[in-house]
């Protein structure tokens, strides 16, 4: 009888401990593929991440669905790209979320970059600065620190785990940044003219010394004007730009027209709006693909 009671006590103790452990897992809903990766890498087994924007999906075109709202309300932390990326549904999302759910708009904590060349010819009224901060590795390093701090704030019991996860990921990012700088250093600085489908590479340009031009503005929801495309063709000819680049989430029709009217060729397809299928399944893969594609085409 005594042994049986002891076994029962041990069983319920183990069950209770397991329940506490399961309950301790932080639920994160992410509206950014890059933030999903950062959170998984920093949070590890202590965090469960639901990616509401899927790899290859255009975040500019994303519409908040009832299912995604349910996932967000069930989470402890909602991660947003920020800088206007979620402008079309942000108010509805904030109104619907319970007070206990913390919201971190990561991009809003990062330094801003104003409209680039593409920003004057299109783009929604909300988009006044480039929201594509992940196209600079050093901004992703800052974002990693922000996610780490948010997880520690929510779950201080696992502080050491989050610090270790962040440190390991930051070390990889540091190596990635040096690799990118070395690869880009193969391209003379006067040939660093990047023409892309939409204005998503201001952070990349600032980080690595590129002049940025784009067919569309900061968002992908408006067609470029004829006058803008004509001016862009003239600029491509004047600057002797060797290649222009497509994006994995956009229609290449206008880009193809520009190559017909100028001497530029299509240099390849870039991951502009986050992770995507193929090489862009990870942030490192996405960055290596973009840098290799740009440098090899403009050399």
């Amino acid at each position: 009888m005594g042994l049986r009671s002891a076994c029962q006590a041990l069983f319920f103790s183990v069950l209770a401990f397991s329940t506490i452990q399961l309950k301790a897992e932080i639920k994160v809903a992410s509206f950014s593929t890059v933030l999903s990766e950062i959170t998984q890498r920093v949070g590890g087994k202590n965090v469960s991440v639901t990616s509401l924007i899927k790899p290859g999906q255009d975040p500019h075109e994303y519409q908040l669905t009832p299912g995604d709202l349910t996932a967000a309300t069930a989470s402890d932390l909602v991660l947003l790209s920020g800088k206007g990326m979620e402008a079309t549904y942000l108010n509805n999302l904030r109104d619907a979320l319970p007070k206990r759910v913390e919201v971190l708009a990561v991009g809003d904590q990062l330094p801003g970059l104003g409209k680039g060349a593409g920003g004057e010819k299109g783009g929604s009224a909300e988009a006044t600065e480039d929201p594509h901060w992940w196209n600079s590795v050093s901004e992703v390093e800052k974002a990693t620190a922000l996610v780490r701090d948010a997880l520690i704030h929510l779950d201080p019991a696992h502080t050491a785990d989050y610090q270790a996860g962040a440190q390991a990921y930051l070390s990889e990012l540091k190596d990635l940044d040096l690799w990118a700088k070395r690869k880009i250093a193969e391209l003379p600085r006067d040939r660093r003219k990047l023409v892309t489908s939409h204005d998503a590479f201001q952070y990349f340009g600032k980080e690595y010394g590129f002049q940025i031009d784009s067919i569309e503005g900061l968002t992908t929801d408006q067609e470029p004007s004829v006058s803008h495309v004509s001016a862009l063709i003239a600029e491509i000819k004047k600057q002797g730009v060797k290649a222009i680049f497509l994006e994995n989430t956009l229609n290449p029709k206008v880009s193809a027209e520009i190559t017909r009217e100028s001497d530029a060729k299509i240099g390849g397809t870039l991951y502009a709006d986050g992770l995507g299928p193929g090489e862009g399944e990870t942030y490192a893969g996405m960055t290596r693909h973009n840098v290799n594609t740009i440098v090899d085409a403009l050399k």
Binding site: K181, I184, Q239
Partner: protein, 138 residues
Amino acid sequence: MRGFPLIQAALVIVGLLLLLFPLHSLTQRHATIATPTVAPRPAKRVQLSLRTTAPCRFQVSYLGQVVWEGTDDSTGQEIAKDLDIDFPKEGIDLAVDVTWETKGLAAAEISVTVDGSEMHKTLWGQGSASDVVTFTKD
């Protein structure tokens, strides 16, 4: 009608054919060949120099090619090398790798002199340092 009709017809055809060339020249759509206005610049004499706080091995690369490598045994003394390279107004990037004999904190200053302008960048590291440094004439 005087003369031979066949000869007259042949003369008219020849006349029309002669007109074709100038007409073609005047009416053809001139291909707008986009000639890049970016003309190649002549290379400039650029002096690279290195000063380090501890004996080291170093390598300097420009546009993916190693342009200078060696060892610096003389602590604090500057060593230099001349290069003839393009130096656009946007500047140049140099990839620099340094490995010091000491494991403690050390520094290497790399300088670029072009057209009388001297620019300096310093790399710090413990044992080694690698970075891409940009030199732009202000």
